[in-house]
């Protein structure tokens, strides 16, 4: 392993974010800040499954229903593999409703209040049909069908078995099996979704401003569905109040806004309220996993098998399709462990619930939870420390080709484990735990080692069989005649501080301070086509494209300086805002080079093109960041209450471009992971009615529930990323649930109790302890 060396430039420094001053002063510009002539309110289904028999609309009201949208295509993303069955989601329900919250009609009025009054007065008659809610129940032969074309409610099915799997499993000394359940969650950005579409009578174009992570794909999707040229639609992502994946899937509501703006030749806005967000803005992580590990007598994992059932809800999200959870589970379940024999089946099951879409980490928080529970259970059965069984199984040589064919680049799985073990002082904790138990206090420790696949380009997405293959990013850099540098990017940050991070990368190449660089994003009229910000990709891919484009600008500036300073290009260095002839006092300011590039081109005698502009695209194969989390919890067996004492993450995301920003990403991910592990759950009743429609029901964590988080970094240099940075956006959320649940299980082990469900609420922990005591009594 090579570790990054200290770097004498802007990269590696925790400079303060250029994004901050306007946001802190309340001068940010979010979608809901724009005035609109009309406001839209959606009438949504109150039934999980049924046929719409009549919609009663008050006289004089402007109400749009499916009959008005005959020329609008349904959202129908496609996957060409894994027996995927395409299903269409109409923008407004056509005859049939399939989940509580599905839009049926859209009211247009002059104000939100007026639109809400009209919406209240609309009566929708629905003939109830039986609903499929739970994914396992939906697989039963007599279960209601959600879509007639989806047999058995299985919309996608993947299976993998490595050659020789059965032989490897047969050689095992011990088979360890677990059944795990991850309940449904909502990414819950603090700003709900929202859109504002404005028609320009002069050009005939529409500008859609919306809270999205992917402006270009939003433009593509809406133009396709409405049958209009893409160029006639401009999509703007202004300041976006968090996304976490929920805003990387197309909102059907935005399609309607653009349609309305064209029809009304005016501006229309819709701002999702929190209830709509919780019931209808995409859910995630609703999975059952059965996992089995076959170990030899030393605790080495010989074979791994799993069955994954993902409840994907009523429709399929654009662009990833609803296959993203089950297929990612199948591809990445072996995680950071060296296991050659692997068998997995993964099914996506449609139900009468809100559609599933990516949420920070996608399936990996769930599969890491499953695999790390398996490791802890195995450690218990072998009578060794959880850290020891991981030590015996983590990948240590690179590049490593996984059982599913993924190439793991240089990383530090073992080293981060050892860092975590040392930081937590494991022997001291075990001694304290023994003493505490003697006093009726139940402490537990939980580890979670994992890999985070990041920064993958088109090859990885193509392997999934997607119709629309995201992956590359383009960055256009130009210098204006005054010498200010602008980088226009296709990525679309929404809180990650990417404008600061990319400016640091570019600054080092061009030899100027980051405050001389403006990074422009989130406007399809101004930025090159790109795929947006998701999947921990932007620092790697937009960062790589920024580096490549900046290198071209650097070469151009050196060429101009060489001519103006009458020196060889090799002798010119760009630093501190000037081009200098090395070893002399001759220099020229960058601003003067810019001026010459536009206004004194005659001096170039045709040898240099006018202007300073360069474009570059980066489309990498992908890389793996990694980390080991460890946490200590205190469980009250009487109440099931869990208090997290501390949380340590030893992580390796390659080179840290801005360590302050990286730490912030990890803090935020871990906090979401803790919320997912202990508190957050979307609950449906048996009829498909949703019971969690306020944040007071959904329970995102507050400052009370999140303990101090201690971070340790390693910076492994990998050739898989040209900036040497690996992605870091999702890791915190991927690892934390497993660490917390392992710690709870360690704490309640003296009761013979075990919990394999997230969130591990006090009720569930109590129930696990009670069940264990009953088992003990029956044995006695």
């Amino acid at each position: 392993m090579t570790v990054a060396q200290p770097h004498a430039g802007w990269v590696g420094r925790s400079i303060r974010r250029v994004e901050d001053p306007t946001l802190i002063a309340g001068s940010g510009r979010f979608t809901a800040d724009l005035p609109a002539t009309y406001r839209v309110r959606f009438v949504r289904s109150e039934r999980a499954a049924g046929r719409i028999s009549k919609i009663h609309v008050p006289d004089g009201a402007t109400v749009i229903t499916a009959t008005d949208l005959a020329n609008v295509k349904p959202i129908r993303p496609m996957l060409h593999k894994f027996d995927y069955v395409p299903v269409g989601q109409p923008v407004l329900a056509v005859d049939q409703v399939r989940f509580v919250g599905e839009p049926i009609a859209a009211v247009v009025a002059a104000s939100d209040a007026e639109a809400e009054d009209i919406a209240e007065a609309i009566e929708v008659e629905i003939e109830d049909q039986p609903a499929a809610v739970d994914a396992r129940a939906a697989l039963a032969a007599d279960a209601p069908r959600v879509h007639s074309e989806v047999a058995g409610n299985i919309i996608v099915k993947g299976a993998v078995e490595t050659p020789g799997f059965a032989d490897a499993r047969a050689r095992a000394d011990r088979i360890v099996r677990l059944e795990l359940r991850s309940r449904r969650q909502n990414a819950m950005p603090l700003e709900p979704r929202g859109g504002h579409a404005a028609f320009d009578p002069g050009s005939g174009r529409v500008t859609l401003t919306c809270s999205t992570q992917m402006p270009h794909l939003t433009r593509t999707a809406i133009a396709d569905l409405l049958g209009m040229p893409e160029t006639d639609l401009r999509v703007v992502a202004p300041d976006v109040g968090g996304g976490f994946g929920q805003k990387m899937s197309l909102a059907g509501e935005y399609v309607l806004l653009v349609w309305l703006a064209r029809k009304l030749r005016s501006s229309v806005a819709w701002h999702e309220d929190r209830r709509e967000n919780l019931i209808a803005a995409f859910h995630s992580r609703d999975q059952f996993i059965e996992i089995e590990g076959a170990f030899d007598r030393t605790g080495k994992l010989l074979a791994l098998a799993a069955d994954v059932i993902a409840n994907v809800g009523a429709y399929s999200c654009f662009p990833t399709t609803c296959a993203v959870e089950p297929l990612m589970a199948m591809a990445e379940l072996p995680g950071p462990y060296d296991v050659r024999a692997y068998r997995c089946t993964a099914r996506g099951v449609v139900t009468n619930t809100c559609p599933m879409a990516p949420y920070r980490g996608v399936s990996r928080p769930v599969i890491t939870f499953a695999l790390e529970r398996l490791m802890d259970r195995a450690a218990l059965e072998f009578g060794i420390e959880p850290s020891e069984i991981r030590r015996r199984n983590l990948i240590e040589t690179f590049p490593y080709k996984s059982a599913t064919g993924l190439i793991f680049d240089e990383a530090s799985y073992r080293q981060t484990l050892e860092m975590a073990v040392a930081a937590i002082d494991l022997p001291a904790f075990r001694a304290r735990q023994q003493k505490a138990r003697a006093c009726g206090k139940y402490l537990g420790i939980g580890f979670s080692a994992f890999s985070e696949r990041t920064g993958y380009g088109t090859p990885a997405f193509a392997a999934r069989g997607m119709e629309i293959i995201p992956g590359f990013e383009t960055v256009d850099i130009s210098m204006d005649p005054s010498g200010l540098i602008e980088a226009r990017i296709g990525a679309s940050p929404h809180g990650q501080g990417l404008r600061t991070t990319l400016a640091q990368i570019i600054a080092d190449e061009i030899g100027v301070a980051p405050d001389r660089i403006r990074v422009t994003h989130g406007d399809t009229d101004r930025t090159p086509y790109g795929f947006g910000t998701f999947a921990s990709r932007s620092a790697v891919i937009a960062g790589g494209a920024s580096l490549l484009a900046a290198q071209k600008v650097r070469i151009k500036l050196i060429k101009i300086a060489s001519l103006l300073l009458e020196a060889a290009p090799d002798d010119i260095v760009l630093e501190a805002g000037a081009a200098k002839v090395a070893g002399t006092d001759r220099s020229i300011a960058i601003e003067a080079l810019a001026r010459a590039a536009y206004h004194q081109v005659h001096r170039f005698k045709g040898e240099i093109e006018p202007g300073v502009a360069a474009s570059a695209t980066y489309d990498p194969a992908g890389t793996f960041a990694n980390a080991c989390h460890v946490t200590i919890v205190d469980v009250d067996p009487e109440t099931g209450q869990v208090r997290i004492e501390n949380f340590i993450a030893a992580e390796d995301a390659g080179r840290l471009i801005n360590p302050m920003i990286v730490d912030g990403q990890i803090h935020g991910g871990i906090a979401q992971g803790i919320g997912n592990a202990l508190l957050e759950e979307i609950v449906y009743d048996q009829t498909g009615n949703i019971l969690t429609s306020t944040l007071a029901d959904y329970l995102p964590p507050t400052a009370h529930e999140i303990p101090p988080i201690e971070l340790h970094h390693l910076e492994t240099v990998s050739d898989a990323s040209i900036t040497r940075a690996k992605g870091v956006g999702e890791g915190g959320a991927i690892g934390a649930p497993a660490a917390v649940i392992n710690a709870i299980n360690d704490a309640i082990a003296p009761f013979g109790a075990e919990i394999n469900e997230i969130p591990a609420t006090p009720q569930r922990i109590r129930a696990a302890i009670q069940a264990a005591s009953q088992r003990a009594e029956q044995r006695a």
Binding site: D20, I24, A25, D33, E191, P192, G664, G668, L695, I709
Partner: protein
């Protein structure tokens, strides 16, 4: 529903004569009638605190109040703290400690903390956590918000003890 009332909202020392329905929430009036969009709407259920403003010096959820209830009272919003070019010490601490990412919850946190530190300058570090648990942030994991606020509270206490010494 459309009987509008004429009221005056006093926001950051400036008077706004507005006509609102009695059911108009304070946050809607601040944002739409008065054009002060720094105060954000996160849930409209009084849970997330993104809409927190100061009313007569006390932090309130402006989504849970009607605008008419705030008539002629002193309202303070994030726009009154400091401009991007001239941030106040609390705002600077948020920047220094990286206490924001997407920035959507930030105005609510700033107003919450401003109100509490003005009334209880000697608040303990632990009590500050209780206060900060009033509002939700989905990005930061609260680590850096806590650091920023503790640093400002500490600086304020030190400044007062220096002044009184």
């Amino acid at each position: 529903m459309s009987d509008k009332r004429e009221i005056t909202l006093i926001i950051n020392g400036r008077s706004y004569a507005v006509r609102v329905e009695p059911r108009r929430t304070l946050v809607d009036a601040i944002r739409e009638e008065c054009g002060q969009t720094g105060t954000h709407i996160g849930c409209e259920h009084g849970v997330c605190g993104a809409c927190t403003v100061l009313l007569e010096g006390a932090p309130v959820r402006s989504c849970l109040m009607f605008a008419v209830q705030a008539a002629a009272k002193e309202i303070r919003t994030v726009e009154g703290l400091g401009s991007p070019e001239n941030l106040n010490p609390l705002q600077r601490a948020f920047m220094e400690h990286h206490a924001l990412q997407c920035g959507f919850c930030t105005p609510g946190f700033l107003m919450l903390v401003t109100g509490v530190l003005e009334r209880e300058p000697d608040i303990s570090d632990d009590e500050l956590i209780d206060v900060l648990a009033s509002n939700l942030c989905r990005c930061t994991g609260y680590q850096n918000i806590i650091k920023a606020v503790r640093a400002v509270a500490h600086d304020m206490r030190q400044a007062r003890s220096t002044a009184s010494a």
